[in-house]
């Protein structure tokens, strides 16, 4: 679904490309450190209506077997999914 995360390399000045640098979707760092709260899905309540998937600004929610699943590598913990869920199947928990 999403591009994979690659090893971060260090570049010297001469190695920095002058034109188009890399292939599209070249990810080297995750965003999970931004979070102070995390969404947790209650699979018993989730019916796979996909509203959280549609409204996630970061696209970290995917639907597997009619249940929502979150990619915690890139979730920033904004909580839009928990607000959008009509069944209250997503709750926000504090990150420890």
């Amino acid at each position: 679904m999403r591009p994979y995360v690659r090893d971060k390399k260090t570049f010297s000045q001469s190695e920095v490309p002058e034109n188009t640098c890399f292939e599209a979707g070249y990810l080297v760092s995750v965003n999970s450190g931004w979070r102070s709260i995390r969404p947790v899905i209650d699979n018993a309540k989730c019916v796979g209506c996909q509203q959280c998937y549609l409204y996630c600004p970061d696209g970290v929610i995917s639907i597997n077997d009619k249940k929502a699943a979150i990619d915690y590598d890139f979730c920033k913990g904004c909580g839009i999914c928990a607000k959008i869920c009509r069944l209250n199947a997503i709750r926000m928990e504090s990150e420890r």
Binding site: R2, F11, L27, N31, Q50, D58, A82
Partner: protein, 297 residues
């Protein structure tokens, strides 16, 4: 509802970006690219979405994507479209994502030129109602009363003294093949409009309201709700322009409270009752105009 999710690509084309949590603009870009697919070529001027999408070596766009000059989003789209066409490519969409400043102030000349030439491009303006990327300065699309760093709220002047520029009708006045307004709060409507735009030949303009929690002073989880409320309270409207006619897509039976909408946001918290009355009066005037000139069925 479920059909909307099934109708767009499961692939993510705007992923791992460094936008603030709850960013409305990134939601608009993500949704639009999921409609247009991997053959979309996106052009982004200076603005939040280029600042958060291209952090070397992290490239968050999984489709071909380029940063343009601030003023030249539409002219670069023209070039991208002409270049790919000349090289024999057929299955692609040239799409631009510019903010409100990059559209209504700095990029309006290039946009006007592209519409005039009727180039086969889609221009999407994600409107967060100020220059958010550089720290919340007033743009031509900042609404009346909003507090920004260049229109501070003081004792005598309560924020921005000028109303929002009517960019949708400015684009429509060019007799553009297709123009539309949308809101990220009604994502099904936005996705349907991007799809419709992708099937029309000529220049297409979509103006989507994309709340910025940082600049608007709302909690990060309120982005979608506030984007719905701006439509429900009548301060924004969902409409289309096609074949020389305006069409209203959504008519609230009864407007929700404007004061409630304004008071939720830090940028409007200083407004007095008189200021709110001015906003309500201008809303009613706008809807009178919409009632006379827009079709609704």
């Amino acid at each position: 509802m479920a059909n909307t999710a099934d109708s767009i690509s499961r692939e993510e084309y705007f992923y791992g970006h460094k936008a603030c949590a709850g960013c409305g603009g990134s939601l608009a870009v993500r949704a639009a690219l999921k409609v247009l697919g991997k053959n979309a070529v996106s052009v982004l001027p200076a603005g939040c979405m280029s600042a958060v999408g291209f952090n070397f070596p992290q490239l968050c766009f999984s489709n071909n994507s380029i940063i343009s000059t601030f003023a030249g989003t539409a002219s670069m789209l023209t070039g991208v479209e002409a270049g790919l066409r000349a090289r024999g490519f057929k299955d692609f969409t040239a799409v631009g994502f510019a903010g409100d400043g990059g559209t209504a102030d700095i990029g309006i000349q290039a946009l006007s030129g592209a519409i005039d030439r009727n180039d086969n491009i889609i221009y999407i303006c994600y409107d967060n109602e100020a220059y958010m990327n550089t720290g919340i300065q007033k743009s031509g699309l900042t609404p009346f009363g909003a507090k920004t760093t260049t229109t501070p709220a003081g004792k005598n002047i309560h924020g921005n003294i000028r109303p929002k520029k009517n960019m949708f009708e400015i684009a429509a006045a060019h007799d553009i093949p297709y123009a539309a307004t949308a809101s990220v709060g009604y994502i099904d409507d936005f996705i349907a409009k991007v799809r419709k735009a992708s099937q029309i030949q000529g220049t297409k303009y979509i103006h989507v309201i994309a709340p910025c929690p940082t600049g608007w002073g709302v909690p990060v989880d309120e982005t979608v709700n506030i984007a719905r409320e701006v439509v429900d309270s009548g301060l924004w409207y969902l409409a289309e322009y096609e074949n020389g006619e305006f069409k209203l897509n959504r008519k609230p039976k009864e407007f929700t409270s404007v004061a409630d909408y304004l008071k939720k946001q830090g940028r409007f918290r200083h407004l007095s009752d008189e200021d709110i009355d001015i906003i309500i009066k201008s809303r009613d005037k706008k809807w009178e105009y919409i009632g006379k000139n827009f079709k609704f069925d």
